[in-house]
């Protein structure tokens, strides 16, 4: 599957060389493929976060598509207004929010819920580096149990918030998860999301070398281990129907030991056995839920 789809992806790049993102940034890779899939006829709406910071310093930007920079909590509200205006004036330009996990699971949540409830025609992408990266890796609602951040030096005591279940409760026509390490899968899901009318959502795990404390060449490997261990699952749900993506199907049959994912990252250094067991139990539960949902007629 991997090789065949490389050729389907256009050569066009929408990020000029180069942003100030860290070397090996998973978020940069995510955005690269989001833009390749979406093409030039879009407006990006971006709250504060790493991506907004690395686009450039006024009056210069590395992005060749229009970006509306908006207050941290307001991305989905801003996108709603733009989408309505395009609808009223007959413009077909797509509106895409590109927001971090802090800007999505925590501070942007009510605006996001409101826009989904109003059936705003837009795509909301959450790139998830599992902390507040731009301000120095403080914990967010997306930080997993046991991960060290600058505000959880002993490891986070709470589990990751299930934003995908919150989104699912809004019954969007399409929602999916993806990971920067699987760019072809991400590309296909963005293309697909943009064929729907109404609010769509893609949640993309985007490994972060300084935040997750691994050396920069391992970004793809770390994301792949997240999927292969089941810590992150790839799936899509179209009008409520779940389809598990191939890499996660394989992980459900035979996951790699979770320790392989944890041990390559400094943020899990010294994690205790009980916490690892809790994480493993979570993975088993998620896989169990998937099997039940898939079997439902």
């Amino acid at each position: 599957m991997e090789m065949d789809t490389i050729t389907e992806i256009p050569d066009d790049e929408y990020i000029l060389k180069c942003t100030s993102a860290c070397a090996g940034c998973g978020d940069s890779l995510t955005l690269r493929y989001v833009l390749k899939a979406a093409g030039p006829d879009i407006v990006l709406v971006m709250p504060a976060g790493c991506t907004a910071a690395f686009q450039g310093i006024y009056p210069k930007t590395a992005f060749t598509v229009p970006v509306v920079n908006i207050a941290f909590g307001a991305a989905a509200a801003c996108a709603s207004g733009i989408s309505r205006m395009f609808l009223a004036t007959g413009r077909t330009t797509k509106v895409i929010v590109y927001a971090g996990d802090g800007g999505t699971l925590d501070i942007g949540l009510q605006a996001l819920s409101g826009a989904f409830e109003r059936r705003t025609d837009f795509l909301y992408i959450c790139y998830d580096n599992e902390a507040y990266g731009n301000t120095g890796m403080q914990r967010s609602g997306a930080t997993p149990l046991g991960a060290k951040t600058t505000t959880t030096p002993a490891g986070k005591a709470e589990v990751k918030k299930d934003i995908d279940a919150i989104i699912a409760a809004h019954n969007p026509p399409y929602q999916a998860t993806a990971c920067a390490s699987y760019p072809q899968d991400l590309f296909r899901k963005v293309r697909k999301a943009l064929t729907f009318r109404g609010p769509t959502f893609i949640h993309v795990l985007s490994p972060c070398p300084p935040g997750w404390r691994y050396s920069s060449e391992k970004t793809i490997e770390v994301g792949r281990l997240a999927v292969k261990s089941g810590m992150w699952a790839l799936w899509e749900r179209e009008h409520g129907n779940l389809a598990i993506s191939a890499p996660t199907k394989a992980a459900m049959k035979k996951p790699v030991p979770l320790e392989e994912y944890l041990s390559v990252q400094g943020r899990f250094k010294g994690i205790d056995g009980t916490t690892v067991e809790q994480l493993k139990e979570q993975i088993r539960e998620t896989f169990h839920r998937f099997r039940e949902e898939e079997d439902r007629p």
Partner: protein, 86 residues
């Protein structure tokens, strides 16, 4: 062209190459491709977060940040990361 222009209604940035300077200066290790070993699969350019590897596998060293992903992911081990003398 950058800066405020006559009809701008808001503070607006314009796209230019090198908006963050020559990021190649960040590098400690430089990727070097061995064309004998390379099978032209394209995996290196697929995964480069900064899109500095062209389709014909020329790496733009003015901007390559030296992250090492291309070398780590190359299935043929055709890319070596060499410490750079500056």
């Amino acid at each position: 062209m950058t800066g405020i222009q006559k009809h701008d209604q808001a503070a607006m940035s314009r796209p230019v190459e090198g908006s963050a300077g020559l990021t190649g200066s960040w590098r400690v290790f430089v990727p070097v491709v061995d064309n004998e070993k390379c099978n032209r699969c394209g995996i290196c350019s697929l995964y480069c977060p900064d899109a500095v590897i062209s389709r014909d596998r020329i790496i733009d060293l003015a901007y390559c940040k030296g992250c090492g992903i291309c070398a780590h992911e190359c299935p043929k081990k055709a890319i070596a990361m060499i410490r750079e003398e500056k």
